[in-house]
Amino acid sequence: MTPFTTVTGPGAALPRDNVDTDQLIPARFMKRSRTEGYGDQLLHDLRFDPEGRPRPDFPLNRLPAPPALLVAGANFGCGSSREAAVYALWDHGIRTVVASGFADIFRNNAARNGLLTVALPEAERATLCAWLEAHPGAETHVDLEAQRIEAERLAPIAFDIDPQVKRRLLLGLDELSETLEEEESIARFEAAYLAATPWALPRTTAR
């Protein structure tokens, strides 16, 4: 996983609530493999009309360059568990999403792929969102260690983050290799658990 320390780049506003995973990446694109990339399909049906032409009034189509930071409204990433929603944001160049709240599974998926999610109190989120609406593509700077977002001519915004998620993002840690160090505990637990609850095994394959 790519470590996240500081990211500087254009910011964009998507001032709407409930940006769901079907909007972030429509289901029909999900058969792609990761290496094919999902960046062009991000928010596809909002960005493009049925003929595939960019909709001129859509915020992300009015940027000089793809954003590194996106500010949306409430309940971002609700809907399905598709991790492709995170891949689409990431492949499009987005490293930080700011919202007033995130759907649970989306947030987990983001943390496991190096994408920073920042939940801000409504007043601060609205200020940042309004600034980027008025100045599409304005430069933003995110410092994870300091837990701070800066945008030109705005007061720096401090944010909270789960210390575990922060640690993993900063170091770019892969969870699986950490778990494999727990091999002994896992084996010990399994032996005791399966002995105590034999009924929990599927019957036809019970050992």
Partner: protein
């Protein structure tokens, strides 16, 4: 050992905790369910060079890309289904592929096989995994990275979610169902109303629900933003599980029953959030917008609060919900594709003809077989409905089924997001009987106003 009073979820959690590190618990997973969307996860473990730790606790099923009719198969559906068979076969994972009599939508087929058990932890790379909580399991959806992690370790790092209890007292009025109850709750607390919480259902109205209805309710819990929904297991649960092919039998069932009897929250257990609902206030519900919280009773009106959603839906604020014209109807999905759902719809359809195309996709091959045996399928065909093959079908437009741009579809599925049923498609969520009513009249119709056939003779006898 004495504990502070714990909730049901906390008890299941404690019984599955392998270790705690840095404030997170590594939980042991009893059942890992896979569908075609698992290809990213298989790629990840291949890249990490890891085997599957417990293939015997892992089960696959082809559902999301299963075409509802052979002519709707596409290159994508064929590729995705083949990929699942190949990946599961390579790791010796049992998978219910096309042609397997056990196949169906993952959240319908796995319970039918007796794979969903009280007190277990069940995960699947699908948000509606919450469905399995109907049995008193702690069940939740995970993303591809987590699927890979469970494949490789059978464990998952989790922070305990805040607990929430939704108590539904009273009785559901005639003509309303668990679907209406779920939509009523979502309309009350919003799609963010339970964000990140483990929801436990309680109250007389919940205890009175059948297993199928509990599954519908737990299924829709994800649309409140919750991580999981759970109903404490009881006699209804235990009876339903009796005789299921992979559920414990004989001496093992006796031991299981003993363990399951303890699966309830302690008096005094605390919840971060409590919500009380009076079932008597539930009416047949219909969504009018692009989020499940955009919902109103069929007797209500379209509000003026969401201009963008109304623009997408082509509706005018103030219009009565009853009477909205539809062009298509769909009965199926993991929310409402079970036998009892089809029965409720058939009671409306019997002796009538559909006014718009109605596609029925039974939740599983077993549901389809049973409906053929009892004559239920015949009622749908006689009414002019299309009786399709089992799968996710029109719940999600990735398997060859789709609603045309601008078309309005009355649907028993769970999400009315923009484009969910196809680019530009407009979805109105409702119960199976309400969809049947809309299909025969061509517009949203209060099912309580329609005389319905008595199909109690076709009711499913206990398994």
């Amino acid at each position: 050992m004495t504990h502070a009073p714990r909730t049901l979820v906390q008890k299941i959690w404690d019984a599955h905790r392998i270790v705690t590190r840095n404030g997170a618990d590594l939980l042991f997973v009893d059942r890992h369910l896979l569908h075609e969307g698992s290809h990213h996860a298989f790629d990840k473990i291949a890249a990490a060079g890891r085997p599957v730790r417990h293939p015997e606790l892992t089960f696959g099923v082809a559902d999301h890309y299963a075409p509802s009719a052979p002519e709707r198969a596409t290159e994508a559906t064929v590729t995705m289904i083949e990929r699942l068979s190949r990946n599961t076969a390579r790791h010796a994972i049992e998978s219910f592929d096309i042609g397997d009599t056990r196949r169906g939508i993952v959240h319908v087929a796995m319970p039918e096989q007796g794979l969903t058990l009280p007190g277990t932890i069940i995960v699947c790379g699908d948000s509606h995994t919450a469905t399995h909580g109907a049995f008193g399991a702690f069940a939740f959806g995970i993303g591809a990275s987590e699927v890979a992690h469970v494949l490789a370790t059978q464990g998952l790092w989790q922070k305990q979610p805040p607990m929430m209890r939704i108590t539904v007292e009273g009785a559901l009025p005639a003509g309303t169902t668990a679907k209406d109850l779920a939509l009523h709750i979502i309309g009350t607390i919003g799609t963010g109303g339970a964000t990140g919480h483990a929801v436990e259902y309680a109250g007389a109205a919940i205890r009175a629900l059948s297993m199928e209805a509990r599954m519908t309710l737990c299924n829709m819990t994800i649309e409140m933003g919750a991580r999981s929904g759970i109903v404490p297991p009881d006699e209804v649960t235990f009876a339903w599980l009796d005789g299921r092919p992979m559920a414990p039998a004989g001496a093992e069932r006796a031991r299981a029953l003993e363990a399951w009897a303890a699966l309830r929250s302690d008096p005094g257990a605390t919840y971060a959030r409590e919500v009380g609902i009076d079932a008597a206030h539930v009416a047949p519900m219909v969504t009018w917008g692009t989020s499940p919280e955009h919902v109103a009773p069929v007797t209500g009106r379209v509000p003026d609060t969401q201009p963008e959603a109304l623009d997408y839906m082509g509706l005018t604020a103030g219009a009565p919900v009853d009477g909205i014209e539809i062009q298509r109807a769909f009965i199926g999905s993991c929310t409402n594709g079970r036998y009892s759902d089809l029965l409720a719809a058939a009671a409306v359809l019997k002796g009538r003809q559909v006014a718009v195309p109605l596609l029925v996709s039974p939740g599983s091959e077993a549901v389809a077989r049973r409906a053929e045996e009892t004559g239920l399928a015949g009622i749908f065909r006689a009414a002019g409905a299309e009786w399709g093959a089992s799968g996710c079908s029109l719940c999600v437009s990735m398997n060859g089924d789709r609603v045309a741009p601008g078309e309005r579809c009355a649907s028993t599925s769970n999400r009315n997001f923009r484009g969910r049923q196809g680019p530009g498609a407009r979805t109105h969520l409702m119960s199976p009987a309400m969809v049947a009513a809309a299909a025969v009249t061509g517009r949203v119709t209060d099912v309580r106003a329609l005389p319905r056939a008595d199909l109690s003779a076709l009711e499913e006898t206990a398994a």
